[in-house]
Symmetry: C2
Subunit: 125 residues, 2 copies
DNA sequence: TAATAATGACTACAGACGTAATTGATAAGT
DNA sequence: ACTTATCAATTACGTCTGTAGTCATTATTA
């Protein structure tokens, strides 16, 4: 199976942008999208992009003078892998205690609670 | 409020041990507890302990020749802070989508599902 | 008492990360 | 054609992390 690379906090912001695009995008599009999100210089974002390329989290094709970047790993895969390592670290791998901790603590709207119930019901079969 | 220090992956293992003890414990007790968990040399563990002291995550009192370590931050606080940053990174801060992603994906036993339902119900009032 | 063991302090070192500046190559404008 | 703007590549640098080794001090043991 494809190994999911470890994506750092700052890199995640870049990935989110890349994932959000339906088609490959230029470095500048990524920079523009991130200006609102993070207070980074364009060069900083370029660095993050390059590191993601090196990690094989994104790929690119050359389109004349610029590169077009696209994800090599899906968001779902990354979420899964990231959450697994998180749950492992904090809860020793047990998923249920984590949910329990959350349900006790988080502010959830009644609608969200309903939605969760629905999801759980769905899981029941 | 007290700032929760950022605790690294390896450091979490140490914290878990310190939290698990009801009274302050020596470095050696921590080392012994971790031998089974991680393949670390005692010195490695000492380093982690020292870093946690520096971060003010644990404190110590001198008891003759050795130090007795005890947590300065509660596990609940750390879990909360850690989870917040995790959810922020991966889900942009929205907790509900995370649960949704999990419920779709994780293997949960029927009992666990029941338990979750119960927790959600409990949250309803 | 002198050698040795134990324990904490200090030092080490490579790789990841956050944050960017500088350089080099190429395209576009004058 | 020469200058300038643009984009990617390379280099930079301090901090954090994982993973220890070495040193210094004190206690124990022969």
């Amino acid at each position: 199976m494809s190994e999911i690379p470890k994506i750092s906090e700052a890199e995640w912001e870049v990935m989110k942008v890349v994932w959000s695009k339906s088609s490959p995008c230029t470095a500048n599009e990524i920079v523009d999208a991130l200006i609102d999100v993070a207070d980074w210089k364009p060069n900083t974002i370029k660095t993050l992009i390059n590191r993601l390329v090196k990690k094989k989290a994104i790929g690119y094709e050359e389109e004349r003078r610029f590169y077009l970047y696209y994800p090599l790993v899906s968001q779902a895969e990354c979420i899964k892998s990231e959450t697994k390592s998180f749950v492992k670290r904090v809860f020793g791998g047990a998923f249920q205690p984590m949910l329990a901790a959350f349900l006790k603590d988080e502010k959830l709207s009644p609608e969200e609670i309903e939605e969760l119930k629905r999801l759980i019901e769905e899981r029941k079969e």
